[in-house]
Amino acid sequence: MELIATAFAMAYQFGDAFAFLVISCAGLAIIFGMMGIINLAHGEFIMCGAYVTASTARMGFPLPVAILCGALVAGIVGMIVERTVVRHLYHRPLDSIIATWGISLIATQGVLIVLGSTMQGIGTPLGSIEVGERSYSAYRLVLMGAAVALLSGLYLLFYHTRFGVIARATIQRPQMAQALGVDTRRIYGLTFGLGAALAGLAGGLYAPTMTMVPTMGATFIVESFVTVVVGGADIFVGAAPAAAILAVIRAALTAWYGQLFGQIGLLLAVIIVIRVMPGGLSAWIKRTRQ
């Protein structure tokens, strides 16, 4: 029994780290990994999702609805940002860094001025479960489920729907797609919006477990960039195994040496991966397959 409890503890820690990495990197994997846009306002989409989720939940809506609202609003904001700013900078990556950084500053400072330095949280639902002598937050198990559902949902969307085929075609060969009658600007807008919505979803899912402050998006950014960089351009081939490997590294190091070494391990992993496989895991996996 003690063995099972210990195994569960380890699995839980792995799952927890995995869920955090997958959920926080999904939006970035699409915007940065697939579309190649460096979006420094990504954390602010996450913050937007979290704030909208918290406000809707406080208005009395059930939490799942509130989280979907958060994702939806972040997605709409993302499409607006794409149409007004990012669209004009697709061929000027450096300028898009500056522009999205500016948006990020405006968003954090704007929220600080309008809504104040902090917002009341909504509390974590579902209570705790007991396994052996330890107790665990049940909501975190939901987050693990959400991470898996998110990956499968995205896989279905991109590989088994018409939108997915068109989106992948547009991003890989925009001229060809255009020649075949695809409205590529619309597809770019929708895909960027989807990335922003996933960022908002991350914010919404983690909103009940975190402090609500204008800078909260920043705590997701390191992890999500690391996962996407390690994963490489293809989120399904790359990001999921990247998240799994990084979760093992992080959970193990944190368990043995504490949080600091968990972070160091994460960053060392990314340095090694960039050096050994510049295209990330997905390029490496694809190459070995051929």
């Binding site: 780290a17 954090t108 400072q109 104040g116 902090t118 949280g121 330890r134 975190r140 402050v213 705590t219």
Partner: protein, 413 residues
């Protein structure tokens, strides 16, 4: 991935625009300029915006009552954005360019240690109005915040007596957390307890599953939480949802970041904090302070101990200048050396200790209840900041401008 400090120039411009707000009606005589460097944005803003407001309140009161020694008070306010480099930049600016007479600066200990060499370099005078890990023996600094011998020597023995001898500490991984944890370790040891765990958390970390599991696996009777910043505050919610259910003790929570107001009950219940002021304190002085504070700032989310300390510091400075008849630092320090610089403020009577230039405090043990209301199971009257003086720091004799810790005390001579 904050690539460069994010809110650089724009916020600086904003705060500079608001810099001259508190100039009073008296303009005949040259104003006394007070620099205010506090974090109005970034990770610490939730706890520190209120300090600026407290200083503005004090400035308005002082100006309405005729200023300091007949001279109006003028505030020069900059937003330091929770960024140590901004502190250095703005400290140079207020001392060199704005030529202020005194500076009120700093929340995190990292920021204080970042700006302190600059205050020394230009021989300025700075008030640090924050509770901290103690030990700064520097004639250019006056500290109104509480220190470990006031917060931990009271809190830790009380907790051990009430809940048990096994202590687990989680602390922010920088000078404040490291040195505070050292104090906790020493006091636990002196009282015959056992440290069953100690973990340092990098600033900005927001996910605590593994830490929570480590605590559950230990035999801890209570947890000392020395967590700093908005990201780390996520611990409480996560610990509550994992049903850790252990009493907590802290020198920083509630009294600074009003977590009991921000989080959903009961995530902070059983938290015990030693603080020299929070707005729930039920004395007539405290109530009067809260009343006039809310009259000027109706939307203030919480009036914390740093707000009271900043307000007290303004009044102490007024007294120092009026008794010295000048803003010259040496003359001010001669007044401090007389040993009777006291102020009857929101937290009761407080006095400056000439040896360390730290302040005595009445320490309230605030306990967070299940519904996040506050009770005060214990009050320690008039606790002196004795450690530095006992250890050999005497600013009336010499000025080492150093920070000492229990493991690194002043050199015996």
């Amino acid at each position: 991935m904050k690539m460069i400090s994010r809110n650089g120039i724009a916020a600086a411009a904003l705060s500079a625009a608001g810099a001259l707000t508190a100039a009073g009606p008296l303009t005949a005589q040259e104003a006394i300029k007070i620099g205010v460097l506090e974090d109005q944005s970034g990770d610490f803003a939730a706890a520190t915006n209120v300090k600026v407001h407290a200083i503005e309140l004090a400035a308005e009161e002082i100006n309405a009552a005729g200023g300091i020694d007949g001279r109006p008070v003028e505030l020069v306010v900059y937003d330091t954005q929770s960024d140590n480099r901004r502190y250095q930049e703005f400290m140079r600016r207020v001392l060199q360019q704005d030529q202020v007479d005194v500076v009120f600066a700093g929340f995190s200990s990292a920021s204080r240690e970042a700006y302190r060499p600059i205050v020394n370099q230009f021989d300025g005078l700075a008030f640090y109005n924050n509770q901290y890990e103690g030990g700064v023996c520097d004639a250019n600094m006056i500290v109104t915040g509480a220190v470990p011998e006031q917060q931990f020597s009271t809190l830790i023995p009380w907790m051990m007596e009430t809940y048990g001898d096994n202590v687990y500490t989680i602390a922010a991984d920088y000078n404040f957390g490291q040195i505070s944890a050292e104090w906790v370790r020493q006091i636990v040891d002196e009282n015959g307890g056992t440290m069953v765990g100690e973990e340092f958390i990098p600033l900005g970390v927001s996910q605590f599953s593994q830490t929570i599991q480590n605590i559950q696996e230990s035999e801890a009777d209570f947890v000392v939480t020395l967590l700093v910043g908005a990201a780390q505050a996520s611990y409480y919610e996560q610990a509550a949802s994992a049903n850790v259910d252990l009493p907590m003790a802290s020198s920083v929570n509630v009294g600074q970041g009003y977590e009991h107001k921000r989080f959903t009950p009961p995530s902070l219940s059983q938290m015990h904090v030693t603080t020299n002021y929070i707005e729930e304190i039920d004395t007539p002085e405290s109530q009067a302070f809260v009343e006039k504070f809310r009259a000027m700032f109706p939307d203030e989310p919480y009036i914390n101990q740093e707000a009271a300390n900043s307000y007290i510091a303004m009044n102490l400075y007024k007294q120092l200048v009026e008794r010295a008849g000048t803003t010259e630092h040496d003359a001010l320090r001669e007044v401090i050396a007389e040993g009777d610089v006291c102020f009857d403020g929101p937290s009761g009577n407080v006095c400056l200790d000439p040896q360390s230039q730290h302040m005595s405090h009445t320490i309230f043990l605030a306990k967070v209840e299940e519904d996040h209301s506050i009770s005060f199971p214990e009050v320690w009257e008039n606790i002196e900041p004795y450690w530095l003086g006992d250890a050999g720091c005497d600013l009336t004799q010499n000025d080492p401008s150093a920070q000492y810790t229990p493991s690194n005390p002043p050199p015996a001579d």
